[in-house]
Symmetry: C2
């Protein structure tokens, strides 16, 4: 998405400062919003020298774009970790959805950071989801060839259906007061029933 | 959601001013965000006298809450109009999803206004979707009793599945450059295949 406006640290102490900037940015952007957060505020809250921010990021948008990219990668990595041991598409979907719901519960900033991109730069928002969709379509295509997924559904639409289910069932989870392993499994079971055989008699 | 912090106009000229405030609020909130939009800016852009704003709204949050409530009602009304002539649950879902996708295409502010509530007041955001979910569950319960919808899926989860599908397939539509009746029907057909019989072989 953005690979020119930030510079990764090269040493361990630099990494620590870099992480402080990222964590402070996440906290302030998600708490009060991107628009009202200033670089000065980030610098002050992170407890770093003014020039240090610019060592790593061109500007506020560069920091935000980096955070968004990092979320994208960490969500994919987290899900891939959970599904790498299973072989059927169905099991991959099941564990992938479960992993996403757990992630949404554990890190309540995830929606705020990602959905705020819609207000900051429409292209960032579009890139975020179209990239996810393209990855999904690639995986689903293999499953169509393997004969696991039906071949009469447009796969781009199917990718948005699956992202929509994860994201909104994720909201259902967030809106609840508690989350147990049992509750999570029950929710995922309901989702799988629809994906297995639909909702209508 | 909020019925104490705004006052509806009683006369036609008041209605015109009221509408100007609403339209200006929608435009500014969705364009530059809630946080950086001031009441003064709304007053100036709407071309009204300062005191006039406060005739109708207590503050900026009151205006935003009213706009959100209005969106909620207009989305429901728009969908209900489209589905009132059909009798099966399946046809209601099909036309309801199609109506939502068309709405998302026609009014590109809808996501921005609704999703920004997450940043303005988490309770507004939660109320928005939980109210939608409760209405959905009520309708789905009837269809379970009628034998149209299977009785082994948790209906709250099903409501979030259906909202997620509409909202994210709505993003797919928005991310496209064009929308024809044929394209809309093709997308809705794909969704209905999943709702009819799932995605797996």
């Amino acid at each position: 998405m953005n690979n020119k406006t930030y510079r990764l640290p090269k040493r361990i102490d630099g990494q620590k400062t870099f992480n402080q900037i990222i964590e402070t940015g996440k906290r302030l952007f998600s708490k009060q919003g991107y628009a009202v957060t200033s670089i000065n505020e980030i610098i002050e809250e992170a407890g770093i020298a003014t020039g240090t921010f610019y060592l790593y990021f061109d500007d506020k948008l560069a920091l935000y774009s980096y955070i968004l990219l990092e979320y994208h990668q960490s969500i994919r990595k987290h899900i891939n970790e959970k599904i790498k041991h299973v072989h059927t598409r169905r099991e991959k979907e099941r564990l992938g959805i479960k992993a996403f719901l757990q992630l949404a519960w554990d890190d309540r900033l995830v929606y705020r950071i990602i959905w705020e991109s819609m207000f900051i730069d429409q292209r960032l928002f579009k890139t975020y989801y179209t990239t996810f969709s393209e990855d999904y379509v690639r995986g689903l295509s293999h499953s169509v060839i393997n004969g696991e997924v039906r071949d009469d559904i447009d796969l781009e639409t199917l990718s948005y259906i699956l992202m929509g289910i994860s994201n909104f069932v994720g909201l259902q989870v967030l809106f609840g007061d508690t989350l147990s392993e049992q509750k999570l499994d029950d929710i995922v079971d309901s989702v799988m029933k629809v994906l297995d055989s639909g909702m209508f008699y």
